[in-house]
């Protein structure tokens, strides 16, 4: 019985524990719910946020001005005047003559060797005279007269320099020196090709005094000269010393000293020295109509060169565009090498050169032309050390082109022209976001300004200027502007300084305020521009840069003193709550509080419609919430911030829906408080907007979060 009681007691205890433990685990959901209040977004908005930045300025009284400039038209004369057509030229230079350098040779006959020649004749007289002279060497003697002395021909071999040459031009310079102690008479000599035997030069000199020389020149033009040739002293006589003793020196000599120079060949087989083959300077002129350019700076462009040669020797080619320099002052010179042409063929090379940044003079080689390039080409043979044959049939061909020239700057005379612009329209963005409502502006000051950055005098004629909004159009009525020629002075150069011309438009001289009160999104215009109406009065000193325009602007200054009635601003903004449901899954319910502090004398009605990625409306998050205007005091300025609180219920379903949002349309309508309303008890007419006004918007979250495995 006792055992049973203990068993029961223990069993009850254990069962109780099990039940309690089980009870603890009945609810499978770990978690709890909590409510949080937190600021989300804080924005201090001003009119700058609504109408765009940098267009609002304030005066000393903090009155705001809407100041902006809207370009009506921008005229770049470069679009019209600086069109440089591609140009090219081809040329060929044949080798009708070319330099083959100069050659020297000489023939020397000493008195001693001459005596040996006399002895060798075997003639008794010659033997006696020869022996007598040799034996008297160092002494004085009386030289007898002699006649018919001939010296055997000597061979000169220059075939290691040239094998054969047909001279187009050449001169042989000869010095015949007589260093014998007796005069020479009837000196005959000749040069003759060794193989062909053609006579090259033959001459006779009647008399050469002792220790004297005679200079002679011989034209070699048209001569064929072999690399080996004979030089022969065929004859000379001497009258002797006329009975007077002369000192005998067997080293005394007769010398033929020859130099062939100015050798230009029509054909040659030779080891050619390095020498200039061709040098030519040419001009090429663009036809630019009524435009006469003296100078150009290229923003881009190409110089293309094609060269070919049939010369069997390497040729260096040097191209120089005269008067062209890069931005570092370096001339535009292109050097290239043509390898030796194969037998019966040509060698060629193509080069392209970037002209970007180059400045070029277009006045020709004598600086008396326009639109004219000058270029110099020279070809120089490259000595290889081998025998080559070059003939007059060989040639060097070259062609070049200047293409795709886009000028950065030109100088000259731009021509006289009339350019019609329009009728056309341009966007007028500043007020374009205002989609509806009406606006009454107290005062509008507009300057029609013309900024000329072009070095050309002009005239502008505005035929029409209109504001366009949808189907509505308001046309400017301003006699001082419309159809009244406006003179535009040329800009100044070095550096470029634009000139400005401005015409004032206001409520008194025009209806410009009506144009702005239309809240236009476009401007329509019709303009005529006269270029150089006075002709070439600047004597080719017009200049045009690709960066300089003639800009026609509307410079608007509007003091923000206005009456607004449901002025509706509509804008599309990006909208995203976050990555997805996981980011907000803990939020089970809640609301977003919109807290506004408004010190503007403007009442705003807000609407925010959220769209998904397919532009379907998924929620109207803010539906015509009203932010009341601040209260206007006796001085027609607002005093304190007006606090407005609006709450937006955010259920979990709505939150999940908003997660799909990709963009939103914000619609805000602004109205100035009417006289007699609670916010405006005494301010009649236009309400001024000051720079210290602000609209502070805060979004706070009031969310219920469910933590855990829910």
């Amino acid at each position: 019985m006792r055992k049973g009681k203990i068993n029961i007691l223990l069993g009850l205890l254990l069962a109780m524990m099990i039940v309690m433990l089980s009870a603890c685990n009945k609810e499978k959901k770990l978690g709890w719910e909590a409510e949080y209040l937190a600021p989300l977004v804080n924005a201090d908005l001003s009119l700058t946020n609504l109408v765009g930045d940098s267009i609002l300025q304030s005066d000393a009284n903090n009155l705001l001005y809407l100041i902006f400039s809207n370009q009506v038209y921008s005229f770049n004369l470069a679009d019209y005047a600086i069109e440089i057509p591609d140009t090219g030229i081809g040329s060929a230079a044949s080798l009708d003559s070319f330099n083959i350098g100069e050659q020297k040779f000489n023939l020397t006959i000493t008195l001693g060797s001459l005596c040996k020649e006399l002895i060798a004749t075997g003639d008794i007289t010659n033997v006696l005279i020869g022996n007598s002279i040799i034996s008297s060497n160092g002494d004085s003697m009386v030289f007898p007269g002699l006649a018919g002395i001939a010296v055997p021909a000597d061979t000169f071999d220059a075939s290691f320099v040239f094998e054969e040459v047909n001279l187009y031009h050449g001169v042989l310079y000869g010095w015949i020196h007589n260093e014998f102690p007796v005069p020479l008479e009837n000196v005959q000599y000749q040069l003759r090709n060794k193989v062909g035997g053609e006579l090259i030069v033959s001459d006779t000199i009647p008399y050469i005094a002792p220790h004297d020389s005679v200079y002679k020149e011989y034209d070699l033009s048209g001569k064929r000269i072999e690399g080996a040739f004979w030089v022969e002293l065929q004859n000379f006589d001497t009258p002797g010393s006329s009975g007077q003793k002369r000192l005998v020196d067997t080293s005394d000599y007769i010398k033929l000293d020859m130099k062939a120079a100015g050798l230009r060949a029509s054909s040659a087989t030779a080891v050619f020295p390095s020498a200039e083959l061709i040098t030519t300077t040419e001009e090429i002129t663009h036809d630019l109509g009524d435009t006469y350019l003296t100078y150009i700076e290229a923003k881009s462009g190409n110089l293309n060169i094609y060269l070919s040669s049939s010369v069997a020797e390497g040729v260096y080619l040097k191209y120089t565009l005269d008067g062209a320099f890069d931005d570092k002052g370096q001339p535009l010179t292109v050097t290239t090498f043509l390898p030796p042409a194969p037998v019966g063929g040509v060698s060629s090379v193509t080069r392209s050169f970037d002209l970007s940044g180059y400045s070029m003079t277009l006045t020709g080689k004598n600086h008396d032309k326009f639109n004219t390039y000058t270029q110099t080409i020279s070809a120089t043979i490259d000595s290889s050390g081998y025998l080559r044959t070059i003939t007059s049939a060989d040639s060097i061909r070259f062609s070049y082109s200047i293409t795709n020239i886009v000028p950065r700057y030109i100088r000259g005379y731009a021509g006289k022209d009339t350019i019609l612009v329009g009728p056309e329209t341009v966007p007028f963005d500043v007020l374009s976001k205002i989609q509806a409502g009406s606006l009454d502006l107290d005062q509008v000051n507009v300057g029609l300004s013309l900024k000329n950055g072009i070095g050309v005098t002009g005239e502008v004629l505005v035929h029409q200027l209109s504001a366009v909004k949808g189907g509505a159009t308001r046309t400017l009525i301003a006699p001082s502007v419309i159809d009244n020629p406006i003179r535009v002075e040329r800009a100044l150069d070095f550096p470029i300084r634009p000139t400005y011309t401005s015409l004032a438009l206001n409520n008194t001289n025009s209806n410009i305020d009506e144009l702005l009160e239309l809240l236009p999104d476009q401007l329509a215009y019709n303009i005529e521009i006269f270029v150089n109406p006075d002709g070439n009065d600047m004597r080719y000193r017009d200049f045009i840069s690709d960066q300089s325009n003639l800009d026609v602007n509307l410079d608007v200054e509007v003091p923000l003193s206005l009456i607004a009635n449901n002025l509706t601003l509509i804008d599309t903004i990006d909208f995203s709550l976050g990555g997805g449901e996981e980011d907000v899954q803990a939020i089970s319910d809640g609301k977003i509080n919109l807290i506004a502090y408004n010190s503007y004398p403007l009442e705003a009605q807000l609407k925010l419609i959220v769209f998904d990625e397919y532009d379907n409306i998924i929620d109207t998050l803010i539906n015509n919430y009203t932010i009341k205007s601040a209260h206007l005091g006796a001085d027609c300025r607002t005093t304190d911030d007006r606090k407005i609180v609006q709450s937006i219920d955010i259920s979990k379903d709505r939150l999940n829906r908003l997660l799909l949002g990709k963009k939103a349309i914000v619609k805000a309508s602004f109205s100035t408080p009417a006289l007699g309303s609670a916010e405006n008890e005494s301010c009649n007419g236009h309400i001024k907007i000051y720079s210290d006004y602000h609209l502070r918007l805060k979004l706070t979250g009031d969310f219920k979060l469910d933590f855990g495995d829910n």
């Binding site: 055992k3 254990l14 099990i18 309690m20 209040l37 989300l40 976050g578 980011d583």
Partner: protein, 439 residues
């Protein structure tokens, strides 16, 4: 959890099923001389007489939580995936003490011991091996901190919530221990002493310190004023790998017991003397500043739409609060425990009265006084109860039941029973199960 309950049920029911097969011991001293210490060494405080046994195997599981403010119901909600509704929260809020404390601890493990005989009959040596899994949390918090955590800051609209001083430490570790004990069975007294050295691996650690911190929530949440001094450390923010060595440490235990056979014993133990060093994977978030926050500033209407909820992630919050994030190593000193107890046999060795003092090195932890009486019944059943006061909690009543066979013993008990019966109001509870066998 179902399998756990099934195992628990089996362990609890087995003694009663098997009870009819057992015999009654004349003296219950040895049987009752077990598990009476808070800092027990189960190897030789298990009542087994190693003069006649060679091996010991024990399995134990214990869980307990103590608080001066958090009800057992709320604690079990957290532990057992419960849902904390507003009624429960308000009940808890009503019990908050200003300086609120909470700690819980779960230990489960397996121990094997082998008896090494000596030349002297009265001396035995034990060499034992131990594995245990430990999971513990310790939290100090203000009333407002708990309300902010569970209810959010809306209840503090146009009011200030005081958040500091708040501290939280939560960690888990695996213990791989080896121990040595000497047992002296003298005719007039018994002395047991032993030491255990353990290698620790910790897969998880989190700590938070908030000093001098408060949060003011303006009307409609228009702005927040936050003053904070925060130091938060976190190891492995993802799901921890149970046996990973994110932290490595060492731990030592020491035990001493002296007693007169069949009469009384005095025991002393020092536990958890050790540390865990976490490698450079400890994320630390620290900051000491104050901010006035009015939301993300936007420049215009176009920016409004992009100010979504995704902007309010942890990184942006850290940026807003100027909290510095760093990664560094960190050493955590384990909260050691000291235990002293006296045990006296009563009623002709049919009962055992124990009194003891326990201290754990935890923040604002008071010494824990306890007394316990266990009584043996026929067929080696035992039943007893305990009274305790101290620590983080109020007055505690415990109960324990057990059954011993010749070489097998099962004990089930609780040191704090009220938490089971009054979970909505009482703030502590515990449960332990121990199964041991010798052969």
């Amino acid at each position: 959890m179902k399998s756990f309950y099934s195992l628990l049920l089996t362990l609890l029911v087995c003694p009663f099923v098997l009870s009819a097969q057992d015999t009654l011991k004349e003296s219950k001293y040895e049987m009752l001389n077990h598990y009476n210490s808070y800092g027990l060494n189960e190897v030789y405080e298990n009542g087994f007489d190693y003069r006649h046994q060679s091996n010991y195997v024990g399995v134990n599981f214990s869980f307990g939580h103590n608080s001066n403010a958090v009800s057992s119901g709320l604690a079990y909600n957290f532990i057992s995936n419960g849902y904390i509704d507003s009624t429960k929260k308000e009940k808890v809020y009503a019990q908050l003490q200003g300086k609120n404390k909470y700690e819980d601890r779960l230990i489960s493990g397996l121990t094997y011991a082998h008896v090494i005989s000596s030349k002297k009959e009265e001396e035995k040596y034990l060499l034992y091996f131990k594995y245990a899994y430990n999971n513990e949390r310790n939290i100090l918090f203000t009333n407002d901190a708990l309300q902010i955590a569970l209810s959010g800051n809306k209840r503090f609209e146009d009011d200030t919530a005081v958040l500091g001083k708040t501290q939280l430490t939560s960690l888990a570790w695996n213990q791989y221990g080896i121990g040595f004990s000497k047992l002296c069975y003298k005719p007039n007294f018994h002395i047991y002493w032993g030491i255990t050295a353990s290698l620790l691996s910790s897969p998880q650690y989190n700590s938070l310190k908030l000093e001098d911190s408060y949060l003011y929530t303006a009307e409609l949440g228009e702005y927040l004023d936050v003053k904070y001094n925060i130091d938060f450390r976190q190891v492995d923010p993802g799901a921890p790998e149970f046996f990973s060595f994110k932290g490595t440490g060492f731990l030592a235990d020491a035990h001493l017991s002296y007693g007169k056979p069949n009469n009384y014993s005095i025991r002393f133990s020092a536990e958890n003397l050790g540390f865990i060093k976490y490698k450079k994977e400890v994320n630390r978030y620290a900051g000491d500043s104050s901010i006035h926050f009015e939301g993300i500033d936007v420049m215009g209407l176009n920016s409004f739409g992009g100010s979504g909820f995704s902007n309010f992630n942890a990184d942006s919050l850290f940026t807003i609060l100027s909290i510095q994030k760093s990664t560094e190593s960190f050493t955590y000193t384990l909260p050691f425990a000291m235990n002293l107890s006296f045990h006296k046999a009563l009623f002709a060795q049919q009962g055992m009265l124990s009194i003891g003092l326990n201290y754990r090195y935890l923040p604002q932890y008071y010494p824990f006084f306890w007394t316990k009486y266990m009584h043996g019944f026929k067929r080696n059943y035992m039943l007893g109860g305990s009274l305790a006061f101290g620590g983080y909690t109020k007055f505690n009543i415990g109960v324990e039941a057990g059954k011993e066979w010749k070489n097998f013993r099962v004990n089930v008990g609780s040191n704090s029973l009220f938490g089971f019966f009054m979970p909505k109001t009482y703030t502590s509870s515990s449960l332990y199960v121990r199964v041991a066998a010798t052969f």
